[in-house]
Symmetry: C2
Subunit: 451 residues, 2 copies
Amino acid sequence: MQTTHILVIGGSASGIVAAKTAKAFHPNKDVLLVRREPEALTPCGIPYIFGTLEGSEQDLISNAAVTANGVRMLIGEVVELDPEQRFCRLASGEEIGFEKLVLALGSTPKLPKAIAGCGLGNVFTISKDKVFLDEMCNRLAEISRVAIVGGGFIGVEVADELHKAGKQVTLLERLPHILELAFDIELTVKAEELLAQRGVSVRTSTRVEALIGEGRVSGVKLHGGETLETEAVIVAVGYQPTTGLAEKAGLELNRLGFIKVNEYMMTENRNIFAVGDCAEKKSFVTREPINVMLASTACAEARIAALNLYRLSAVKTFGGTIAIYSTALGDVAFGVAGERESYARERGFDIVTGTFAGVDKHPAQMPGVQPQLVKLIVARESGVIIGGQVMGGASTGELTNLIGFIIQNRMTINSILTAQIGTHPLLTAPPTAYPLIKAAEAIALASRSGD
Amino acid sequence: MQTTHILVIGGSASGIVAAKTAKAFHPNKDVLLVRREPEALTPCGIPYIFGTLEGSEQDLISNAAVTANGVRMLIGEVVELDPEQRFCRLASGEEIGFEKLVLALGSTPKLPKAIAGCGLGNVFTISKDKVFLDEMCNRLAEISRVAIVGGGFIGVEVADELHKAGKQVTLLERLPHILELAFDIELTVKAEELLAQRGVSVRTSTRVEALIGEGRVSGVKLHGGETLETEAVIVAVGYQPTTGLAEKAGLELNRLGFIKVNEYMMTENRNIFAVGDCAEKKSFVTREPINVMLASTACAEARIAALNLYRLSAVKTFGGTIAIYSTALGDVAFGVAGERESYARERGFDIVTGTFAGVDKHPAQMPGVQPQLVKLIVARESGVIIGGQVMGGASTGELTNLIGFIIQNRMTINSILTAQIGTHPLLTAPPTAYPLIKAAEAIALASRSGD
């Protein structure tokens, strides 16, 4: 039986970061990453292999980068884990002993049981497997009409990309708006309009009953009786954590099916950690288990696990998930951090919101200037900011990250009102009307006592 | 004598923000803004009227925007202030009584006494006065060769803009590098190379001894004897606070010549506040008086003064200046927040720095991807981040603001290592190699104890 000090199972974003960070901070330990797939893709880049990029080759994470600082890598499938004896067994029969184990098992696309016909040809999900995706790209190259089931981030991005690639795309969303689980209504409406303007046929409040066809899919049967003709269907209705190995080994799962971990990303077995899509997430704000799966969150968890493998550090812990994400449709980007207004109200928070619509460069006559909207969501009693949303140009991603840091630091409206920012004509909103601060001002004004 | 409740003297960025915020939070008070100039310009937009914009008209802050929420405005010059009797006198002889006064007197360009010939024709400074700037634009329209004295932000931006407008531009900097008082050497070198590549002749370590010419400037005499022929000279060697009115009224100035204020932006007279370029600044980190003048800082100070006019609030104070600024040369932007490495060392801080060079989109094959470099400066003992610098694309301004918030929250390297960010292929660096976090990791690795 070969042995290693630190074994990482899974080699997408979080597995790679766990292994590389572990090796960097524990240079004398042997670190072995075991991965089923010979090659790994940048997960958030996958929608872009259908249009902007020339294919999956341009989205590869090179194996050389993974092993650059001394991490060893082995391609193989782990089929069994013994947490007490600390070894695992590969499909090949080979056994690997370890001191510490990081499970970075990832997630797999959900297939809705309620929809018949998902087994037909030319029905795809967006998996993270290069072989599968390459085959999918080949098949899509031959056809011109695609229906996408599910208007979340992945559905929306793939729809826009396939449209860019010249396809006739219909996006089908069960809820009244696309991206409705990500943004508050006012932003979803704008994203929806934009996507439609760009040429995607967007159909919301539309329930898919079945996929039909003989051998290959040829139509989507909608609730109400209408049938939409199509040559391919992409089902993008979310992902489920991959936990078979952990479950079989007796590790506890939470009620949403994720591997339970504490704030050191440690399972109940102190030698086993779990990170990324397979690991339990709790909301930073509501403290409830949630099923957000983001590569960026996964990487943060991976770093924390790697830093706590041999010595727990009370200052290197994961305080709960602040879901932070952004996307773009052409030049217009959307970002969100923390809780949405609708979700916070549903969960019983007493909140105040403030929104300001300005511009992302200044003066407004600058070439390339774009509208920039910031919305903040604040707990009324404390003034603590629990969420924010942004619509704007190329700076939207980092402005959303700034709101993420605001939430992480539990900053209040007063601290935003008095905050210092830097501004520049070509790069930001004006200092006199910086939307983040003006949104905070709107909340302060709404809450102020009279003179 | 007419009276008002809240009088604001000065109507550039900080005066406008002070007046508008005061009116918003004290709707029952009369707010009067007195300004000498009939029209005000967005200060940071001024360099761009020489190239990117079509002239100063496109950089106007409309008077309608100033008075939109009920602020009154009066064009006139205040020549005398009686702090005890609480009134001031205009050049016209008119007197205005007030309850509370905000001085937003601004700054004026410095003219170096050591350089002879600054009084010649076609020698300009970059003032904030529209009439002066329009005249300057007219004169520059007729000539093709311009020399700029001073390679700070204004000098660099104006040089790049005049070059865009088709001029032959020479930038003269006394120090070994341009922007040397803003960035650490490694970034100044890149900015310098870039500016030269773009076609500006950059001459560093070059001291100007005199401007020469008959009536109009025709040459710049350099230390060492060389004379540079030119048709116009722009002197951009900094600004000095405008404090004559305050000084005459007996308000105390600090040793750098700024009006002394406390953290409520209040002068020693509890009815008089000062904000913006005329008001004292202390570094958030070093606690020493500094002479940074930024519209964004000015606006933060203005908000704080306005919020504290009638009732001091212990949670709405100004904790010291975190100089945050950014600029761009074409598609490449530079940003800085807080202390530089060189300055921190000079001031006796025991620091560690970490730098990471990555990309601003991902995968690196994305169209429009640009290098992104982040440098962090950390106090060794505490791990507290005291400064950061960024070089990158369009997201540089907001990423620099994020570093500003990190400094403001006194976040440590550990809190960055465990921080959550959001990433997106079109908008940010990859989650596995987000330069801000990788720079923190480099510092943690440099400081770690062995296993």
